[in-house]
């Protein structure tokens, strides 16, 4: 599920608006996943997502500050580059599981960060305006750093055992 690069980014304000939506929706998604895992008695997994939500929230605030005084185009949620799909760092939540391991949680995070990096990298190939391209490259570099950060965290996690989802009291009816 990779978002296509937009055919045309109108200007810097439009690019910042795209970036703001990516970071805001990422923060909301991680916050939601954190709540889900906390509700299901998995506080250590919840903390992973909450930490990611804090990081994405800070980025959103930084971009919002850069947008101050600018007038981005008015877009409906489905009028962004990703169309009907979720924004690059959101979506794919069906991969969450109430018994998931830290490694699996980080894999979900890694996929999202990789999608964001791919989005900006794709965009960089289509943009001609030098000022816009410089900002796209800046965002791509940030996402690449996130990818590296999560890969480092993943490297410290043990591999997920085959019986990771064994539940002695499963929610089903004994099947």
């Amino acid at each position: 599920m990779t978002a296509a690069a937009p055919e045309s980014i109108a200007d810097i304000a439009d690019l910042l608006q795209h970036a703001l939506v990516i970071e805001t929706e990422a923060a909301e998604r991680y916050r939601s996943l954190g709540h889900q895992m906390a509700v299901h008695n998995s506080p250590h997994i919840a903390r992973i997502f909450e930490k990611m939500a804090d990081i994405e929230g800070r980025h959103a605030a930084e971009i919002e500050a850069r947008l101050r005084g600018l007038s981005p185009p008015d877009r409906k949620p489905w009028e962004y580059a990703w169309g009907d799909a979720a924004s690059p760092e959101a979506g794919g939540d069906e991969e969450a599981h109430y018994m998931m391991t830290a490694r699996q949680a980080l894999e979900i995070v890694l996929e999202a960060e990789q999608r964001a990096y791919d989005f900006y990298r794709g965009l960089a190939k289509t943009v001609r305006d030098r000022e816009i391209k410089a900002l796209v490259d800046e965002f791509a570099t940030e996402e690449k750093e996130h990818v590296a950060l999560v890969e480092n965290l993943l490297a410290k996690e043990p591999y997920t055992p085959a019986d990771w989802d064994f539940d002695p009291d499963p929610p089903g009816q004994g099947d």
């Binding site: 895992m37 979506g91 009816q173």
Partner: protein, 281 residues
């Protein structure tokens, strides 16, 4: 006197403004989280004020959704959400009424209300989060479950032909018929916004995976696809398309032109104290 229709906000609220502080208790990975997000986005895109929206639900996992919004909500009786929603719209036509629930609530327990809401054509939107299973009560087959779905409670499957909600809605008179996918929250928001704005009874089936009892539904993401044809206002053509589709066509399939059921013309507001006084002996 009925109130005038609520005006759109001059400055749209952000989608987060439509979410309450109540934390959902759905399973991690449940599609209903994305449906909630799609609802928030649709309300924001239409610049609706939260106090001008009423979310009416029945019983089941998905019917919890009313309490997760910052709008007015009514978590009603199993299968009877459409009756409540219809009554509310007739009495308060100024409100945007969104009725929501699951496939068991809407097509089994509430099946008769579904038929007659389509037939009556009130200006409301009915959103069914369809996961082909009763999730809250631990995984029984629902009206939309595939006949060969094997489970502990129905070994070998029920062998019963699934209910076809879009065909039934069309045949019963729904004015707007669409299918959406929870995994594409922006696409679902677009369809929902159009359904809410469309006059008459709008029915949206939204495929919303139950990852706990139907983990194979994670694969729906690879199965859904945009409907290959434009929507039509020809019911016969829509019927042919709906009856021959693969159950994974996403988009608006039918837009009719029936006039909506009219609002009540009499007094729709009363003083609560005076009304309560009538019950005192």
């Amino acid at each position: 006197m009925n109130r005038p229709a609520a005006a759109a906000l001059s400055e749209p609220l952000k989608p987060a403004a439509y979410k309450s502080d109540v934390k959902p208790v759905w399973c991690p990975g449940c599609g209903d989280y994305s449906v909630l997000l799609a609802m928030q986005k649709a309300f924001s895109a239409l610049a609706l004020a939260p106090e001008d929206i009423a979310v009416i639900t029945g019983i089941g996992c998905s019917s919890r959704i009313a309490s997760y919004t910052a709008c007015y909500g009514f978590h009603g009786v199993h299968g009877r959400a459409l009756a409540v929603g219809t009554g509310l719209k007739v009495a308060r036509p100024d409100l945007t009424v969104l009725v929501a629930g699951g496939d068991g609530d809407g097509f089994s327990i509430g099946g008769n209300h579904f038929l007659h809401a389509c037939r009556r054509n009130p200006d409301i939107t009915y959103l069914v989060m369809d996961n082909h299973v009763y999730g809250m009560t631990k995984g029984q087959p629902s009206p939309t479950t595939e006949p060969d779905w094997d489970s502990a409670i129905a070994p070998g499957g029920t062998g019963i032909r699934p209910f076809h909600p879009l065909a039934v809605a069309l045949a019963s008179g729904a004015n707007f018929v669409a299918r959406a996918f929870a995994g594409d929250p922006n696409g679902a928001a677009r369809i929902l916004a159009e359904a809410i704005a469309y006059p008459g009874f709008s029915f949206v089936q939204i495929l919303s995976p139950c990852v706990t009892f139907r983990p194979e539904q994670r694969g729906w993401r690879k199965q859904v696809h945009p409907a290959p044809v434009e929507s039509t206002d020809d019911a016969a053509r829509a019927a042919r398309r709906i009856m021959t589709d693969d159950d994974f066509n996403i988009g608006v399939l039918y837009r009719g032109d029936r006039p909506p059921f009219p609002a009540a013309s009499g007094v729709a507001e009363r003083n609560v104290d005076a009304f309560a006084g009538e019950f005192e002996t």
